[in-house]
């Protein structure tokens, strides 16, 4: 059996009321209902009758929902989904990548010179970790944040998927990339760093291969996000706000 005021909660969230307001409202309604039920029981009603009487006194789901809709502010994600799902994730991604790249290039520029024999081994662990984070974790983390906001606030907007697509593409395009070129005939190989990914084919940078890799990884991230959204949607709808 569902908790009291579940319908009120769902209707308010779907109408765009901020989750924290909905949560507080429902908690207070449930406390009020418990007090009224106790009062009616003390007045002599049996448990079922007391519960029913208390529920009538609190008000119908429709009355409670309408009262809140008239007064409570709408969440930003409901008022401006383009900003929350379309703009904010991209700005966040660019800001984080810019901060990481700036820090890493400041750190590596003095040591990554041919006269000093390239990057010292002690730096390689840090470089690999940062490269892994920007390449594999940052984009999924931001996309997961978008999905969480959308599910929690019951916002089903096209902007969510535009935002996830943009993040999937941008996070695979911009990052901190360590590019390792294996030595082959005529090329000594080496390690370089860039904000954009680089794929070498036969000792040369291949724009086509690079773009294909970016597109493939973006599609994979988008599909994972879509599958996760579908799997989690029912769970969010049935859980507490």
């Amino acid at each position: 059996m569902s908790q009291p005021f579940e319908k009120v909660r769902e209707d308010l969230l779907r109408a765009g009321i901020a989750p924290r307001h909905v949560r507080r409202y429902v908690i207070e309604l449930r406390e009020h209902l418990a007090d009224l039920t106790e009062r009616e029981r003390k007045a002599g009603l049996d448990a079922a009758a007391a519960s029913q009487r208390a529920r009538e006194l609190v008000g119908t789901d429709s009355q409670l929902t309408q009262a809140m809709l008239q007064k409570a502010p709408r969440a930003l994600a409901a008022r401006a989904p383009w900003a929350v799902f379309g703009l904010l994730p991209l700005v966040a991604l660019i800001a984080v990548v810019a901060a990481i790249d700036y820090s890493m290039f400041r750190l590596l520029t003095p040591v990554n010179v041919p006269a000093q024999g390239g990057v010292p081994a002690t730096y390689l662990g840090v470089i690999a970790a940062v490269s892994f984070i920007t390449s594999y974790l940052l984009g999924p983390a931001i996309a997961a944040g978008c999905l969480f906001i959308s599910l929690r606030q019951r916002v089903a907007s096209l902007w969510l998927w535009i935002g996830v697509a943009v993040v999937a593409l941008a996070s695979n395009l911009f990052g901190f990339h360590m590019n390792v070129q294996a030595p082959i005939a005529g090329h000594p190989g080496g390690t370089s760093f860039s904000a954009l990914p680089v794929v070498y084919v036969d000792g040369h940078v291949s724009a086509a291969a690079t773009l294909a890799m970016v597109a493939l990884r973006a599609v994979i991230l988008f599909v994972i996000a879509a599958v996760a959204y579908r799997a989690l949607r029912a769970r969010f709808t049935s859980s507490a706000a």
């Binding site: 307001h21 507080r24 409202y25 908690i27 207070e28 309604l29 406390e31 009020h32 418990a34 007090d35 009224l36 009538e56 006194l57 609190v58 008000g59 119908t60 009355q63 409670l64 009262a67 809140m68 008239q70 007064k71 409570a72 502010p73």
Partner: protein, 115 residues
């Protein structure tokens, strides 16, 4: 959910809530019960709807809320702020003047000053 004379009730819940909270912090159920008791059931607010009024007053700075556990029950208590006290003073003055004016009209008395 009961409601009392909806056409005349605009502003009444707010006035009563602010007045009751002048004495001590209270939670929603307590406020509804106190209003019912003090008005002899003439005024009975919608039990659930009172929370939207409380939340609005809190957003507007007239009330503050805090959670407190009393007798193993967690409750949200509301307290009047300085802004809330001032708001109550203004509202009470307006309502008193309005009530006197209406009384005067009902009794067929002389002209009363504008509110």
């Amino acid at each position: 959910m009961r409601s009392t004379n909806p056409n005349f009730m605009a502003g009444v819940p707010e006035l009563m809530i602010l007045r009751l909270l002048q004495d001590r912090p209270m939670y929603g159920y307590e406020i509804v019960e106190a209003i019912r008791a003090q008005t002899g059931d003439v005024v009975s607010l919608g039990e659930g709807v009172i929370y939207t009024v409380l939340h609005t007053l809190e957003r507007e700075g007239a009330l503050k809320s805090h959670r407190r556990t009393v007798e193993r029950r967690s409750r949200v208590y509301y307290t009047l702020t300085a802004a809330g006290k001032k708001r109550y003073g203004d509202l009470a003055q307006s309502w008193t003047a309005l009530a006197e004016a209406i009384q005067s009209v009902i009794k067929g008395g002389s002209r009363v000053p504008a509110i």
